[in-house]
């Protein structure tokens, strides 16, 4: 693992000790799907009240990482600790209590298709509190105003664009004021304007409300703009980590290939296969 934070000049982001200030800790986590090892001794810390980006190519297990933190998956070995609680060891009741304090923003938004925008945002409030209708109304409009969609409250999810759906999902994720939000590919498939809005919203939520943010993405430019700290994962482990500046200036081949989008490098362009010539000759035979 390349610890860029320790190798270069220390930026403001390295002023804190990650372990002491970590809201989420993964310690030596291993996880497999069938015979395929997704993580093999993965360790990382997510600092409180900061924006942390987890970068990695497709299929490197970024979404799996969020599912492990959210307790939707259990690791084969290792520890997943969120706010001092060992997630895999929690009972269902304890896990649900923890989840009330965290939000996961799915790539698709995962809005309930039979409810309109207002009811989607009100959903967690109605499920977990006994607030009066007028309070729910105020709370939902407040959150919809934050994401700029107060005027869209009557629309159904099918009437929303991809970017709008994600903003509604974001309003829903913050409606109970969680301590942490996990974003699964928040920039994927967005037009430049929606992308700008999403970047702005994540920044604002982090700075204004002090919400810890974990962004799983492969969009390097946006991640660099927004993240206080970055991890690059691949081959089941952390390849490198450091501040955005350190990642940008890294001389590591693996980091350079990802940050510059090089088609070939430590991550080979070709999927492992037999010798090309032998393969072609095999057809004739």
């Amino acid at each position: 693992m390349t610890d860029l934070g320790n190798s270069g000049n220390k930026s403001d982001n390295q002023a804190y000790s990650l372990t002491d200030n970590a809201l989420v800790q993964l310690v030596d986590v291993s996880f497999s799907r069938g015979n395929r090892k997704i993580f093999n001794g993965m360790s990382l810390d997510i600092p409180r009240a900061k924006v942390t980006a987890i970068l990695g190519g497709s299929g490197t297990g970024k979404t799996t990482l969020l599912n492990l933190i959210g307790g939707r998956l259990k690791p084969a070995s290792g520890k997943v600790i969120v706010d001092g609680l060992s997630v895999p060891d929690l009972s269902t009741r304890e896990l649900y209590a923890l989840r009330k304090r965290m939000g996961l923003l799915f790539q698709s938004g995962a809005l309930l298709t039979d409810l309109n925008v207002f009811e989607n945002v009100a959903f967690p409030v109605r499920e977990h509190t006994k607030l009066s209708e007028s309070l729910i109304h105020h709370l939902v409009l407040l959150k919809l105003q934050m994401v700029g969609l107060r005027g869209a409250r009557e629309l159904m999810p099918s009437e929303l664009s991809g970017g709008m759906a994600r903003r509604v999902a974001l309003a829903r994720a913050i409606v109970l004021d969680p301590m942490m939000i996990m974003y699964d590919e928040p920039f994927a498939g967005l037009d430049p304007i929606s992308m700008g809005i999403t970047v702005k919203l994540i920044k604002e939520l982090n700075h204004a409300l002090g919400i810890t943010s974990i962004i799983v993405t492969h969009d390097v430019d946006e991640a660099v703009t927004i993240a206080d700290y970055m991890y690059l994962i691949g081959e089941g482990r952390v390849i490198a980590h450091g501040s955005a500046e350190e990642m940008k200036n890294s001389s590591s081949d693996e980091v350079r290939q990802f940050m510059d989008g090089l088609p070939d490098g430590p991550v080979a362009f070709h999927y492992p296969a037999d010798d090309y010539r032998t393969d072609l000759m095999g057809v004739d035979q």
Binding site: L104, F106, A110, T113, P124, E127
Partner: protein, 263 residues
């Protein structure tokens, strides 16, 4: 020999897969049943599902019931008139419907209309991460989505079977009395005299309750357990209709044997 071993291996794999799935389905049923109490407390959710599962199935049930009754009236009259027993037409129509056709045909139609819709809806909720989203919002999908639908199916099915039977009797009356000219007094009096509340109506009700339970269980389980892709949802929907229909017919034989038979 090699072929035989391969065959036995695949048979074993198939068997283990089926038993595993049955175990998963039973565990799912148990977990669902533990949440039924909460659904009763939040009956608004069940009420909405009764509309989707029951009310929207009403049209096909009513039309089918009416036509099945009309055909029974016609066929029954031709057969009974050979023995000069056409006055028992009302009894024949009523017994056929309350004991067998009402619960069975209504359940088959229920599986095709409501069961497939339930599976497709839950499967699509899974495919579009709505169920996962609920889990992450600390809302248990079994409590919020599955249990209300299960309860709605259980409540709707006997009511639909009763409506099917009532419409069938009316259809038999239209053909027998209205078109063919069987005496109306005899039609109703023989029916009243021959149909027993406990042996016929209550047993028919129990059948429809059992069918409602089994169809809704299969439908919600297939949706919840499906592979979250368009092909997976499509396969699950097909499985719901096929498995439910087979379960209805198989269980009907067992229940009939227990209720009316000497076996």
């Amino acid at each position: 020999m090699k072929f035989l071993i391969k065959f036995l291996l695949s048979l074993g794999e198939w068997g283990i897969a089926r038993i595993t799935r049955l175990g998963r389905g039973s565990q799912f049923l148990f977990e669902t049943l533990t949440h039924v109490g909460q659904s009763l407390v939040r009956f608004r959710l069940v009420y909405h599902q009764i509309y989707s599962v029951g009310v929207l199935t009403l049209l096909i049930i009513m039309v089918s019931g009416l036509f099945v009754g009309m055909v029974l009236g016609l066929q029954g009259y031709y057969t009974l008139s050979d023995f000069g027993a056409e006055s028992s037409l009302g009894l024949l129509v009523a017994l056929s419907l309350t004991r067998e056709l009402g619960p069975v045909v209504a359940a088959l139609l229920f599986a095709g209309r409501a069961g497939s819709a339930l599976t497709a809806e839950i499967g699509l909720m899974k495919a579009t991460e709505q169920l996962a989203g609920m889990e992450m919002m600390a809302v248990n999908p079994l409590e919020r989505v599955i249990a209300p639908r299960f309860l709605a199916g259980l409540i709707s099915m006997p009511l639909l079977a009763a409506i099917f039977t009532a419409l069938g009797v009316w259809g038999g009356h239209i053909v027998g009395v209205g078109l063919i000219g069987v005496d109306e007094g005899l039609f109703w009096s023989r029916m009243q005299g021959g149909v027993d509340f406990y042996d016929d109506i209550l047993n028919g009700f129990i059948k429809s309750l059992v069918f409602g339970f089994i169809v809704t269980w299969i439908a919600v389980f297939e949706g919840y357990d499906c592979v979250p892709t368009s092909e997976g949802v499509s396969r699950a929907t097909t499985r719901t209709v096929v498995n439910s229909s087979l379960a209805i017919l198989g269980l009907d034989f067992i229940l009939t044997s227990l209720m009316f038979g000497e076996i």
